[in-house]
Subunit: 385 residues, 2 copies
């Protein structure tokens, strides 16, 4: 009766996908190299192996009715081969081929008239001359491949780049090449989750805004809906849908956008999977991003994406000074605050900036949400154990 | 870091308790006789054994930091012995001693001035004379022990009773004795979930009303909040809290009440565990009944019991004409309706009236809820497979 979903990756996104499928007893099998991965806490069906290993991916396909991935860094060619045998893979592997390479991704947007910031693609050898020909004082330097969670992305001035050249820094010596991109100065960053079913019918969620700490310039929290005007929010959803639809593939996608003060909106990049900016949907929305992906994979109708309540989500990340076992401090004080939901990913060890969990806060208005968030932020801390 | 909760019983209530604990990676071990029980679909840690087996209960205690039960029919003496060794059992076993015996339960209410319908306790031998001395024309005859899901409860006239006597029917021949009780004619049946933490602080959920089909007289659906006045709902919550507080035990309880047209409210009975009438809280409330019980067991603060949206829940039960494997028909049509949540318990076989799952519907008003319910009711059917 119940279909089996094969998932490349067994991290927290896989764990939450399982949790969303549990009320209907959906079956899963995870391919993951780490034995005590987050997904293993809920699902005993795991293939131990690398996401680059074509044989393991083939094995995953044999055990599954449909495949998906919860991380981009997988062997795409193995997925393409599997798709050619008739196996259903969602999103389609050709989406990954584009998204894994930030150069191809930018070219894809340009080709489809999707608004994106000016850029130049450059090999490592050409990088010096590319930057010399760049007319802006500052630029964003992105590795074409392998970047993740902000790694492989640097904001630089021309002077800073010259200094890196002088010391032959590793960060400007990637054989995969680079994208040099204009900086979205003063832009507000929002993210829109877009869901596309197997008939390519699409729907989207309310935009989620990334709010940065003005002192540290690190992301403080995510708020949904964004504090932009209704009109701008609607425009963000529209651009996000058009962007994802251009890939002509079912799946669940997060589209990161820059909204500039002049009203211009640019697509930054896409994640072809559940996303941090959609965690809040578990509690805030009629259909969570995870249930939505399950519905897409199982050929069920798309669920209602309406927001029931506004939400703030913050990541619970490893502090800079701890490596190893940890504990979550003040949990009981946080649980006293109404409408607060803590999700921990079951990772045994922390390391600086490692995502250990997240916390979602529900509220009826922005002020209430920010007040609750400030209390949560002060209380919830990771300590060494 | 994470405590282990031992649960007597591995049915759907245990499965949903696990699902509520999964975001915080709470650990569970279930004692259950059936190998492919609902809880086993999410939790691999099961002791195979009877809920009457003192040794197995002791073994469960050794593996757990705290014990609870998801069914009343367990070996109470074994739990009392375990409690005496210092093991934390929630609710306390003395609550079960009272609740397992409908006679003791009625006496408990009488002793604590809790409003309950007039009754007489009778042994099997005295039953004839007890009923002859009963002044009302009709009465409810309840087995003191072993009743479950309406089994062991009969509404009878004196004539019907005489007929059963004449044929020496099994239903009036129980060695555990009987409660003869006045019928709550025309009463509305509501249920209130009450949560009490380990410091004996209590909170309650909005009353849930059982709505019966006027033709079949079978329960059609559960609606929360009940359609009674705010004042009557508040009074129901108050009586439910006083009733549960009288037991002086932490735990999560469902208090079933009769509300009569004259405004009188009577306690019918209590279930010392998550309850059908609280299933809707998974989607409708800030804190589900399952998360609430987890919080109580783990010494966390009680969660907010406020309702976010009104809800209807209906049971998905086995039809009268099917025994064996089954399938759920029209699921995709049901999932097209916004705000509809289907939970299946993963039971392999159906039998008449067996609880196979439930469906919760969210809505902003009674009319919207009833309209959606009528569509769901027509569509969602169990067919043989």
């Amino acid at each position: 009766m119940n279909k089996t979903i094969g998932v490349l990756g067994g991290g927290q996104l896989g764990k939450m996908l399982f949790e969303a499928g549990s009320p209907m007893n959906t079956k899963y099998v995870f391919l993951e190299n780490t034995e005590n991965c987050p997904a293993s806490l809920v699902c005993q069906h795991q293939i131990l192996g690398s996401l680059k290993d074509a044989d393991k991916i083939k094995q995953l396909g044999e055990l599954s009715d449909v495949l998906t991935f919860e991380i981009e860094h997988v062997n795409v060619n193995a997925l393409i081969d599997l798709e050619e045998t008739g196996k259903s893979i969602i999103p389609k592997p050709h989406v990954l081929s584009v998204i894994q390479d930030k150069g191809l991704q930018k070219d894809f947007y340009a080709k489809h008239n999707i608004p994106t910031l000016p850029y130049k693609i450059s090999s490592s050898e050409e990088l010096k001359s590319t930057i010399e020909s760049w007319t802006e004082k500052k630029f964003v330097l992105k590795h074409r491949k392998g970047g993740y969670d902000g790694k492989g992305v640097q904001l630089l001035s021309k002077e800073e780049f010259q200094n890196l050249l002088a010391i032959q820094d590793d960060s400007i010596n990637s054989s995969d090449g680079y994208v040099v991109e204009k900086m979205a100065e003063g832009a507000i960053e929002v993210s829109v989750i877009v869901a596309i079913d197997q008939q390519l019918k699409s729907t989207s969620y309310a935009p989620c805004e990334m709010v940065f700490d003005t002192k540290s310039n690190l992301m403080d929290y995510l708020i949904t809906p964004s504090r932009l005007s209704e009109q701008v929010n609607a425009r963000c959803e529209e651009i996000a849908k058009v962007t994802v639809e251009a890939f002509k593939s079912p799946g669940l996608f997060a589209v990161e956008l820059f909204v500039q003060k002049d009203g211009n909106i640019y697509v930054n990049e896409i994640a072809p999977r559940p996303h941090n900016s959609g965690h809040h949907t578990i509690e805030s929305s009629y259909t969570s991003q995870y249930e939505q992906l399950n519905r897409i994979l199982l050929r069920q109708p798309l669920g209602d994406t309406s927001l029931i309540q506004s939400a703030i989500t913050c990541n619970i990340v490893g502090p800079n000074n701890i490596n190893g076992p940890y504990k979550l401090d003040n949990l009981n004080l946080v649980l006293k605050i109404p409408g607060v939901y803590v999700h921990m990913y079951g990772k045994t060890n922390t390391s600086p900036n490692r995502k250990l969990g997240h916390c979602t806060i529900l509220g009826t208005n922005t002020q209430e949400l920010e007040d609750k968030f400030n209390r949560v932020k002060k209380l919830l801390t990771i300590k060494s154990n």
